[in-house]
């Protein structure tokens, strides 16, 4: 593997009880690169994240990780039982050796004041930052963020994405981020992967946002806020995600985007 290549996936396929969740997924993440994974609900984003994290062994394909790769993971959400008394400080220390400098860590995600706060009493946005701090506490080479802005209002989302960009620059780590939409994550993203069981399109955000496959997935109205573009669907997905009608063209022959016409 290349020196600064963190992970490399080739032809990943995952089946669950006979249902194809993911097929033919290729993915590379380099040091310092921010890759955003977008796709509708049920597209297999979380499944792909689990494969990257090593929590799930794919049924097909290969997954390579750089030697000694440390991954920091920020789960979609964390529910701590109200019956479990746990301060933010203690929560962060669960992750790693006791020598951890919790103060500096919290400063980095701008929530120093929450050190002694009970985890079960955090607001949505505060919780996301605490989770981000936990992911950072292991000094990871790769940050995997599963919908980091979930349950955060729009202003909070913008701040959070800015923060993620600052952290990426400071730590020079790779970032794999799952997101629902492209709008807010556009600016800092190096590569967007549009997923719907297979990789529909990928490339620079400005490319993807005008790609017919992206438009087909997210619908015209949403897409028009990003670009003016007319196109016709040539395929759609049924409820299980299988492609109805004309098959998608070859996704993997060319890098970058592809056309559906």
């Amino acid at each position: 593997m290349d020196r600064d290549l963190l992970i490399k996936a080739r032809g990943i396929g995952v089946n669950f009880e006979g249902r194809q969740i993911l097929s033919h997924i290729d993915l590379e993440i380099f040091q310092g690169q921010l890759v955003t994974l977008i796709g509708p609900n049920g597209a297999g984003k979380t499944t792909l994240v689990k494969v990257v994290l090593g929590l799930l062994t794919p049924d097909e394909g290969q997954m390579e990780r750089a030697q000694g790769l440390k991954i920091g993971y920020m789960p979609q959400k964390l529910f701590v039982e109200p019956t479990l008394p746990l301060t933010v400080e203690r929560f962060l220390k669960l992750a790693s050796p006791s020598a951890l400098d919790v103060g500096t860590l919290l400063e980095e995600v701008r929530i120093s004041h929450l050190l002694k706060q009970q985890v079960s009493r955090l607001s949505g946005g505060e919780m996301q930052r605490v989770l981000l701090a936990r992911a950072l506490s292991r000094k990871p080479h790769l940050l995997v963020l599963d919908e980091p802005a979930q349950g955060v209002d729009v202003n909070g989302q913008i701040e959070l994405y800015e923060l993620i960009n600052i952290i990426r620059a400071d730590h020079n780590c790779g970032v794999l981020m799952v997101s629902h939409d492209l709008h807010l994550v556009m600016a800092g993203t190096d590569e967007v992967i549009c997923l719907n069981q297979h990789i529909c399109c990928h490339g620079k955000p400005e490319h993807v946002s005008t790609d017919p496959a992206y438009l087909a997935l997210f619908g015209r109205r949403e897409a028009e806020t990003l670009a003016v573009y007319t196109h016709h669907h040539n395929h759609s997905h049924d409820i299980k995600g299988a492609i109805i009608g004309e098959a998608c063209c070859d996704h993997h022959a060319d890098k970058g985007t592809h056309n559906h016409g």
Partner: protein, 279 residues
């Protein structure tokens, strides 16, 4: 002379009396000390029904042990561990919703256990003792058995405390950070199984779970860290054992239910205590 003999007899009676109360107290306290912290995990992980099922199914083990004339203590622990393994396996398969599955197992094993007990006429079986406990008949060898099992559970719990806590807060995070979450969970379940097996003597299969969850729930109100809650639960459990034994001694109420009733009163008292501002 006659008077002297009478006095000697009285003293002797007093000593044996003190002995069995002392045995009961030691047995009850060693269980309460471990049940408190272990019960915290039962509360945090919402496993109280799981504990109930384990306890109920262990009655089937008791019944089989009587039928086959096995050594009782070993049989109870063996059956608790076996049912714990079975539950872990079924939970992983996820064939049914967990609570449905637990409900089926809890009550059918209880039913089978009661049936087997009724047909075994080898020994005079005191069913009440198994259902509600029989703390006041704890013998020296029972005590040795209970204390050593509690000691083992306690030591393992202390050694694995941080890891158990990490998998309880977030299983996947813990796994990514290098913990074998499934194996740790299995270990925790086996600890609970052992504790339930030895606690059966104290409170019986129907009341065991309460010894796990009531002290922990009471301690939650007054704690800010997991460790404080564990310690608080251990203390609350000990108080319940002492109070319950006192009730039983002076008013001749059954020991097991008296302990649970004391724990409940303690829980209510802690919850009625006004909170001092924001916790």
């Amino acid at each position: 002379m006659v008077r002297l003999v009478a006095i000697t007899m009285q003293t002797k009676e007093l000593i044996t009396m003190a002995d069995f109360v002392l045995y009961a107290l030691l047995a009850g306290i060693s269980i309460a000390v471990v049940a408190g912290p272990l019960g915290c995990f039962v509360v945090w992980r919402r496993m109280s029904y799981f504990g109930d099922t384990l306890a109920h199914s262990s009655l089937l083990g008791v019944a089989l042990a009587i039928l086959l004339n096995l050594q009782m203590q070993v049989a109870i622990i063996g059956s608790c561990l076996a049912f714990a393994a079975l539950l872990l396996l079924l939970e992983k398969k996820q064939a049914l919703a967990t609570d449905t599955l637990l409900g089926i197992i809890a009550h059918s094993t209880l039913a089978f256990g009661l049936m087997v007990l009724s047909i075994s006429d080898r020994v005079q079986v005191n069913l009440n003792a198994f259902l509600f406990g029989d703390l006041l008949t704890v013998t020296r060898s029972d005590l040795f058995w209970i204390v050593s099992c509690c000691l083992v559970c306690g030591v393992v719990l202390i050694l694995f405390w941080k890891r158990f806590l990490a998998i309880t807060v977030h299983r996947e995070l813990a796994m990514i950070e290098g913990l074998a979450a499934d194996r740790l969970y299995a270990l925790l379940v086996f600890l609970i199984a052992i504790l339930i097996a030895v606690a059966m003597k104290i409170v019986g299969v129907l009341l065991i779970t309460s010894l796990l969850i009531i002290p922990a729930a009471a301690a939650r109100r007054v704690s800010n860290t997991p460790e404080q809650m564990a310690l608080g639960a251990a203390i609350a459990g000990c108080l319940a054992v002492m109070g319950g034994l006192g009730l039983s001694y002076f008013w001749d109420t059954p020991a097991g239910p008296s302990i649970v009733a004391t724990a409940f009163v303690l829980f209510i008292v802690v919850y009625l205590k006004p909170t001092s501002g924001k916790r």
